[in-house]
Structure formats: structure tokens, C-alpha cells
Symmetry: C2
Subunit: 368 residues, 2 copies
């Protein structure tokens, strides 16, 4: 029922190797919980945090100060990290001060991309934070590198090449430093598309699936995909009469379609994948997670669905902390319970039942 | 009451900087428990394991096979690692297969030194495992580097220079890779000394304290010292009538002396320190730990006191596993309770109350 672009020129998925290197294996185990499911908290957001803090007194996001952002991020981390298997931090506002509040038993994942990106012809050209690198992330003791690339399968060859080059470079650096590469994929509107429209909702599955398929190629060296839900549940007939926000919308898909898209996503993902929350409401994210876990997701890497509501009482920091404890923490525990139904990353078909180390013979330490 | 050599040529302890780098801070937090106390399990032993496995059928240690050692080490790790804050593994027999049994929430520490050392004039010349390195340990995702150096303060200038050069090189590499450096110091008999004699027991405190003082100099770059108990409790009047092994011995010290040596050790240690078990019985180690924790130790890094007894039923692997669960695991929990009285490493005077990051300003990620 939708006619969004396909990506006929992408090769068939690579044959899984079934193997993993020592550093990547250790890193992924550190990021996951004891069962092998990712319950990761994101506090690396930048524009969404600036906007939330600016909102309370009508400032512009760029008027929000460094210390203010740092303080809020440390508060989120201090309250919520202990209930997570890992925390995703940014290097500018969160890391390294967060080191003092992230328990040693909780994994550390660091963000590489700049939140600012160049735009040409409406297309987004991602880049790494200047002065930050995979080498520095590894040195700092983090267990993984996260890179967000804006993407859609129907971009110009110039944009595609730029985004691919970035992903390839990060993939190579992660291989060299033997650290897991977590690639986040986000689609975005082009040519006047309206993300809140039924048309966009119709086009979304092909865009999301095309991106996942493209970056699942072995050459990119991705170890874990952080993906968005493949369609918009607000336009799904079972929820379109306002289940999440009270607004009635056109139904462009139904739940059976949704499960189909998720099955396609799982088939397209050449590596384990987790769900991101992309600013949807807590209730909607919970439904997304339930469906994703059933379809093969290995957990979540989520931020705003968990903690954004608690920032509505900003700048009363005591009230923010109270809401984090009374609302966000129970919510985090609830979605942890949802992903109890998820399969561990180690059971992804890539690893054929259990990861095999790419080298574990008697001489491995000499050859490593 | 003893006349062992002193080390008059070592400088006074360096003024503590109070600061720590991001990677070392994260690494130490990962190795410690939530409270900042180290409850680390050592399974990196080599000759002691070869000997224990060879003992049951009268083989020589060198007749013990690779797979046999690997299997036993993995069993120890699988049963005991989940009850530890970190596990110390060797790269040849344990790592990387242990990656599959060490929980991601438990820190990983890797051994650098070869168990074989050169001997000239009775003096021991330590060396790293050929083909293994700080860079590889870091790449593999471990949170710390452990190096054992044999030492005594009264060795020849040639031996001293050799051991110092090794420690300096490892310290430099750990700084470069920003990973904690755990230095283990062990004294040894020279010139026909008998380690089981009253004379050796008398000489021991000056030897142990001299080594600790020497390697606490800032230039060596050590982050955590793994030290032996400064005197021999079997020669301490309160225990010398056979408290640990039923054998009566001459009393060369008393408990007040012992507490004095521990206070000196704590004063000499320029960095946090943990107690090693060095093959003493579980009962003796428990007493050592109780006294050390009271004197300033930040926990333990112990192996044989925890699991050696369980290997007495080898090669019945089911019986070994049963004993590990019914004897070693409760013992590990008991010594964990003993170090509940220990102070966290973060409170070591080096950090003046709490570690400060050597760089946590707005531009840290660019300068790091």
C-alpha cells in the first residue's frame, strides 16, 4: 500500500561470518545486561535538551548555558544510569563528569557525531564532533562508539557518498581499536515533505528499511544498529483514533502491516538492532518496544521517552529530580520488563546461536 | 626488632596531585564495586595451577596440558566471577574464552608479565609475555593492566635498573592508553634465605615496605598497588602456636608490630592498595584482610586463598565445581564482608577526598 522508493542497487545481505573480535565482544557484553539485552539510556541529546530548558522561560535554545545543560544531564544520569545496562553520553556536556555518577558496572557509550550538520539541497551531511574521535572514545574507557547518520535511500549520489564515507571511516577506526560500532539511522523529510502527514507516514517504511538494508553491509563494520520504528503508529488503524495524543488521523497501515515492516526490518538488519525513541511519548514507545521485541530487537537505546516529561517542571531542579524518581525511573523499569521478551544480541542470526571469537586459539594473544 | 635493609636513597613520597585522567578513572570504577572497594578474583596464576593439576597423579607441572589448564580456569571464572567486582585473567589460557563467562558488569583486568623470569646471581629479572602488550590489553576491552615485578630493596643496581625500566615502560604505556596500571610487588629469598624461617619472617617487613615505597614514586605511573602482607602472621605471637596450620613457630613479632607495619605500608603507598593472598590458607588470608582493611587497604585481589582448596579433588571436575560452589563461593562472600570495613579507593589521600579529573573543562574533549 505504499510506493516509496526502493533501493534496487544495494547488494544482497552479506553471509554472516558468525565471528566477533575480543574487544567488540567484551564491549557488547558490557553494554548489554546479564541476559544479553540492551537497556540503554541516552543522555547525549543536544538540541532536544536545549529546547526543553529554553521552553520554560521563552528563551531561544542557543541562549541555554553550558553549566545549565551539564547540570541537567548529570542529574538524568545520576538518577537513571543505575537502572540501565549502559548510558550513552556526549563528550561536551556529559563526559567526563558523568564518570563520577555512572556506576562501574554500567556500560559507557560515547557519541561521535556533531549535532549540527551541513545542508545542501535539503540533504543532510553528517560529521563527527571536531576534536573528538574513535581513538579518544577508546582511550577514555568507553565500551562503544555511537554515530548518528541522517539518511534516506533516495538521496543524491553526492550525499550518499558523503554519508557512506563517514560510516566507513568510523567502521574502520572501530575495527582498528576493536570497539563496538553502534550506528544510529534516522530518516528526515526532503523536498517539502511534512513529517506529520499521512503521505510521510506512508513513505516511511521504505525509507527506514532501505537505510537499514544499506548500512547492514559488512563493509561498514557496524556491530549494532540503533533504528527508528519503521512506520508511524499514530497512522496505524488500531491507534489512529488518538490512542497516543488524542488526535484522530487517517489510517495508512494496520497492525498486520506494522508487524510485516518489523519482520522486514529484522530480515534487513545484518547485525543485532535496538529501538530508539525519537521523541515519541512514553506510551507510544512502550507499544513500539513490545512489537519490536517480538520481531527480533535486542532491546532499546532511549532517552526522551524516558526522561523528557520530567523536564517539564524545569527550572525547579528538586521537582525535576522528584519526577525523575517517581515517573522516569518506574517507566525505565517498565520498559525493561517489556524487553524481557526480547532475544539476547548473541542469538542474532549473524552469530548462528552464539558468537565465536574470530581468534581464540593457543596463539591468539600473539596474533591479536 | 629487625635489622633488614632500609632504602635510604629513595626520595620522599611525591606530593599527591589529587587528579586522575578520564580513562584511568573509568577503569578503576569498573574494577571496584559500587562502593569503591576492590573485590577482585585472580585466575591468572600459572605455575600454581600447573602444580595443583599435576599433583593428583604425580605428574610434573610441565606435563599438564593446555586444554586442561584452560578448562579449569574457565570453571573457576564461571563460578566465581559473578561474585567479584573484577577478574584478573592471563592472555594465554584464560583470555579470550573467559569473555563468554565474565559478566559484562564485572571488570576485566589482564596480566602482562611472563610467569617465567630470568635469574642471575639469584636475582629475578621480570619480563612481559612475548607478543602481549598494554596496547593489546586496551584493545581487548580490559579495564586494567596488571604487572607483577619481583623485587627487594637490596638488589644489585643492575637488577634494580632492569625492574625499574620495565615498570617505567609499562607505566608510560598505561598513561598513553589511559588505562589503570595495577602493580603487584612480591619479594623473594636471596642468597640461601629460607622463606619458612624465623630470620626471613624478621627481614620481611623492611623488604616489603622498601618495595612499596620505591614503586610509589609518581614517575612509575602506578594507579593501584597489589601488595603482600608485610609480615608473616605465622610468626606473630598471637598466632604462632599453630593457629593456621597446627605448627608451632618462634614469635618474631606481635599484633601491635603487625599493625605498625601495616600503618607504615599505608603511609608508604602513594596510591590505593589491595591485598594479595600469595598462597596462604583461607583462614590466614581472612585475618590478613581484616587487619589490612583497618589499616587502609581498599580491598583484595586474591586467587589461591579463594579457590585452591577446591582443586584438591581434581580431576573429578564435577567435584571441583561442587566445592567451588559450596566452599569457594561462600568464602569469597565472607571476605567481601570483611572488606565492607575498608575505605573506597577514591578516599585514598592521593585524591584528597575525591578524585578530580585532570581535565574536565568545557574544552576537555578537544584537549584530551
Amino acid at each position: 500500500m505504499n510506493q516509496a522508493p526502493t533501493v534496487p542497487d544495494d547488494p544482497a545481505p552479506d553471509e554472516p561470518t558468525g565471528t566477533i573480535s575480543a574487544g567488540k565482544y567484551r564491549g557488547l557484553r558490557t553494554l548489554a545486561d546479564a541476559r544479553g539485552v540492551f537497556r540503554m539510556l541516552a543522555v547525549d541529546q543536544r538540541p532536544p535538551i536545549f529546547a526543553a530548558l529554553a521552553a520554560h522561560d521563552g528563551r531561544r535554545p542557543e541562549q541555554v548555558g553550558y553549566d545549565e545543560v551539564q547540570w541537567v544531564k548529570l542529574l538524568l544520569t545520576r538518577v537513571l544510569a543505575p537502572a540501565s545496562s549502559a548510558v550513552l553520553i556526549d563528550p561536551i556536556w556529559t563526559h567526563p563528569r558523568a564518570l563520577g555518577v555512572v556506576p562501574g558496572s554500567v556500560g559507557l557509550l560515547s557519541t561521535l557525531e556533531d549535532h549540527a550538520f551541513a545542508v545542501r539541497g535539503g540533504e543532510r551531511f553528517s560529521r563527527a564532533i571536531e576534536g573528538w574521535s574513535v581513538a579518544k572514545i577508546k582511550r577514555s574507557g568507553a565500551a562503544g562508539v555511537k554515530l548518528l547518520v541522517w539518511h534516506r535511500p533516495d538521496v543524491s549520489p553526492e550525499n550518499q557518498a558523503h554519508q557512506d564515507d563517514l560510516v566507513l571511516a568510523v567502521g574502520d577506526a572501530c575495527r582498528a581499536h576493536d570497539i563496538p560500532f553502534v550506528l544510529e539511522l534516522l530518516i528526515y523529510p526532503l523536498g517539502g515533505e511534512n513529517v506529520a502527514s499521512a503521505e510521510y507516514a506512508k513513505a516511511k517504511p521504505r525509507l527506514v528499511l532501505g537505510s537499514v538494508r544499506h548500512y547492514s553491509q559488512e563493509r561498514f563494520g557496524v556491530d549494532l544498529l540503533k533504528v527508528e520504528f519503521p512506520n508511524d503508529l499514530k497512522f496505524v488503524s488500531e491507534f489512529s483514533s488518538g490512542a497516543f495524543d488524542g488526535r484522530r488521523r487517517e489510517a495508512v497501515h494496520d497492525l498486520a502491516d506494522t508487524r510485516g515492516f518489523l519482520a522486514e526490518l529484522n530480515a534487513a538488519a545484518g547485525v543485532p538492532w535496538v529501538m530508539l525513541s525519537a521523541g515519541v511519548t512514553p506510551r507510544e514507545f512502550e507499544v513500539q518496544l513490545e512489537l519490536s521485541a517480538a520481531a527480533g530487537a535486542s532491546g532499546f537505546l532511549a532517552g526522551r521517552a524516558v526522561w523528557l516529561d520530567a523536564l517539564s517542571v524545569y527550572p525547579d531542579l528538586e521537582a525535576v529530580e522528584r519526577d525523575l524518581r517517581s515517573l522516569s525511573l518506574p517507566y525505565l523499569n517498565r520498559i525493561a520488563a517489556v524487553v524481557e521478551a526480547a532475544g539476547p544480541w548473541t542469538e542474532h542470526r549473524r552469530y548462528r546461536g552464539a558468537p565465536t571469537l574470530s581468534n581464540d586459539g593457543e596463539a591468539w594473544y600473539r596474533e591479536y
